[in-house]
């Protein structure tokens, strides 16, 4: 019996696999009938979903308006570049800081809540932010959004790479994704992360052990928003624009569907699986039918009803069967 706490390597095997697949993607992606840009989009959503899962999967806080913070990141990135003339680094920083700041204000208003009230408040705040993006023409450009966002060169001082091509952007996003993943992987295995997991299971007990539960819920929301902001910044960079749609309720729903279908409740890596599955389903199903979201929605419902642990849960159970034979399965956290 392993009688210690879960350990965390800086570079877990699943991340190695992810990096190998994604780093080699530009070599094979066209050959399998896809197009290079889809990989960039998948990585951006992976980042967003991974940060979102800190909140949903680890802290147990259902935010159903998280697309708003992805959008705030995209707008902040665009505004920093268009209005302030910021370069890539400053604009990325603006995306992270903007989303974190707005997230901090929203979190301050909702962190004393839990469950359904928490969820409803996040939807309300998400809609407020979406409405602002639509109506505050002078800043956000209204329904047209921010156009003509450039892809500036990635400047490291001693060297500089243009990001104009999707391949260059692909590797830039991959590096950012790896850094974010490593930090979040450390975080969920840190004392902070373990207490956060305890908050999910039993808030009252955590408070009776002397912890400031509110501050945990608040800070988890802010961290998750900061990651969403970075993902949103890359989205603006990739799309070369930011528009109200990125912060709509749809996007908020998509990230929930990705995380749940992928298995974020049982696995750190669930959001990766879910983001790839969702976007590939969008493109592959979407090639056949306009109503692909209907079919995806049915898959989503089937997963929630029959296998709430998602794809990662199916994978885990399968591995266990192979390893131990078909004995009774003992549920595990991850």
């Amino acid at each position: 019996m392993d009688a210690t706490l879960p350990r965390a390597a800086w570079f877990p095997p699943a991340l190695v696999v992810t990096v190998v697949v994604l780093a080699s993607a530009p070599l094979w992606i066209v050959k399998v009938g896809l197009y290079p840009y889809i990989a960039v989009e998948i990585m951006i959503w992976m980042m967003f979903a991974l940060g979102y899962n800190l909140l949903l999967g680890y802290a147990g806080l259902p935010s159903f308006g998280h697309g708003a913070f992805f959008g705030v990141g995209a707008y902040a990135f665009g505004l920093a570049q268009l209005k302030l003339g910021a370069g890539l680094w400053l604009a990325l920083l603006a995306g992270i800081a903007g989303a974190a700041l707005v997230g901090a204000i929203v979190a301050a208003c909702i962190s004393h809540r839990r469950g359904i009230y928490y969820a409803l408040l996040t939807i309300a705040f998400g809609q407020v932010l979406w409405f602002l993006a639509m109506k505050w023409h002078t800043v956000t450009g209204g329904e047209d959004g921010l156009l003509n966002i450039r892809r500036p060169a990635l400047d490291l001082g001693f060297a500089s790479w243009p990001l104009a091509s999707n391949t260059a952007l692909h590797y830039a996003v991959l590096v950012a994704l790896v850094v974010v993943t490593m930090l979040l992987w450390r975080l969920v295995h840190s004392p902070y992360g373990r207490v956060l997991g305890a908050v999910k299971q039993n808030e009252a007990r955590v408070a009776f052990s002397g912890y400031n539960v509110w501050l945990y819920k608040w800070s988890a929301f802010v961290i998750s928003c900061a990651v969403a902001g970075l993902a949103g910044s890359f989205f603006a960079l990739a799309q070369q624009s930011a528009y109200p749609n990125v912060m709509s309720l749809h996007n908020s729903g998509f990230v929930v569907m990705m995380v749940l279908v992928g298995g974020g409740l049982v696995s750190f890596w669930g959001p990766f699986i879910g983001a790839a599955f969702f976007l590939l389903a969008r493109d592959l199903l979407g090639a056949y039918t306009e109503t692909w979201l209907l079919w995806y929605g049915l898959v989503f419902m089937a997963v929630v009803i029959f296998k709430p642990e998602g794809i990662a849960g199916i994978w885990r159970d399968g591995l266990r069967r192979v390893r131990r034979g078909p004995e009774r399965l003992v549920p595990a956290a991850r």
């Binding site: 019996m1 706490l5 295995h189 207490v195 007990r205 002397g210 912890y211 595990a332």
Partner: protein, 246 residues
């Protein structure tokens, strides 16, 4: 002399129901103090008021001469006061060890360490292991709380309270649902802790409590109706007549 821990005239109402009317008692350092009373007498509410879950509507709570009335649970916990719960209150998806680790002061000191590994919190893990050994859970550290037997879960509940290394420990009906062997284990543990930790124990089981407590307060209708050593209470005609002491 100021008492180690004291409650004076505690009152608590829910709506128009007066659950605690006037509860007062004092604990000396190192004492094992029992609270008994029939169902609905206000015992658990009294606990909730003392540990910060509810704010009292009247009265004062002092700890080491300091007024802590109305403190939040986290503030009370930080003073070194721990409690176990009547209803199970564990982290079901965590191992027994991790349940106890999270409760330690050493882990709490690293509460906002976001990049260090939890597994490297050696001091916290050692203390948690000691607490688990104290309650007889050695060898079951890696078992998830939800996979433990009922008796082991009750024991873990107490281990979690002990892991906080409290100077004052509140136990809410620790014998609830325990078999003879579990009762034996629990009595032995309380005897072992006596002197090291001041304890306030709410209990139904009179035989258990009278065998362990230095003094017992009998609570009924939200008031303390009798108090004394177990021997004194056995001699008290009211307690004898109520059947509580038999």
């Amino acid at each position: 002399m100021t008492a180690f821990f004291a409650a004076q005239g505690l009152a608590k109402r829910f709506g128009d129901r007066l659950v605690l009317q006037d509860v007062s008692f004092e604990l000396a350092e190192g004492e094992v103090h029992g609270i008994i009373g029939p169902n609905g007498a206000g015992k658990t509410t009294c606990f909730h008021v003392l540990t910060g879950k509810h704010k009292p509507d009247g009265g004062r709570v002092t700890f080491r001469g300091r007024d802590i009335t109305g403190f939040a649970p986290k503030e009370i916990a930080r003073l070194g006061i721990a409690r176990s719960f009547q209803l199970m209150n564990l982290f079901d998806d965590y191992s027994a060890l991790e349940n106890a680790v999270v409760a330690t002061r050493e882990f709490r000191a690293r509460a906002f360490d976001v990049l260090g590994a939890a597994a490297s919190a050696k001091a916290a893990i050692e203390r948690a292991e000691a607490a688990l050994a104290d309650v007889g859970l050695a060898g079951k550290e890696g078992v998830k709380a939800k996979s433990l037997s009922y008796g082991d879960r009750r024991a873990l509940e107490i281990a979690v309270a002990l892991a906080a290394d409290p100077c004052l420990l509140f136990l809410d009906e620790p014998t609830a649902g325990l078999g003879a062997e579990g009762l034996e284990r629990l009595s032995a543990l309380i005897r072992k802790l006596r002197g090291r930790v001041t304890m306030l124990i709410i209990e139904h089981d009179m035989r258990f409590l009278f065998g362990l407590a230095d003094r017992v307060s009998v609570v009924h209708w939200g008031q303390v109706i009798a108090r004394g050593t177990p021997a004194e209470l056995r001699a008290n005609p009211w307690v004898a007549r109520s059947g509580l002491g038999s």
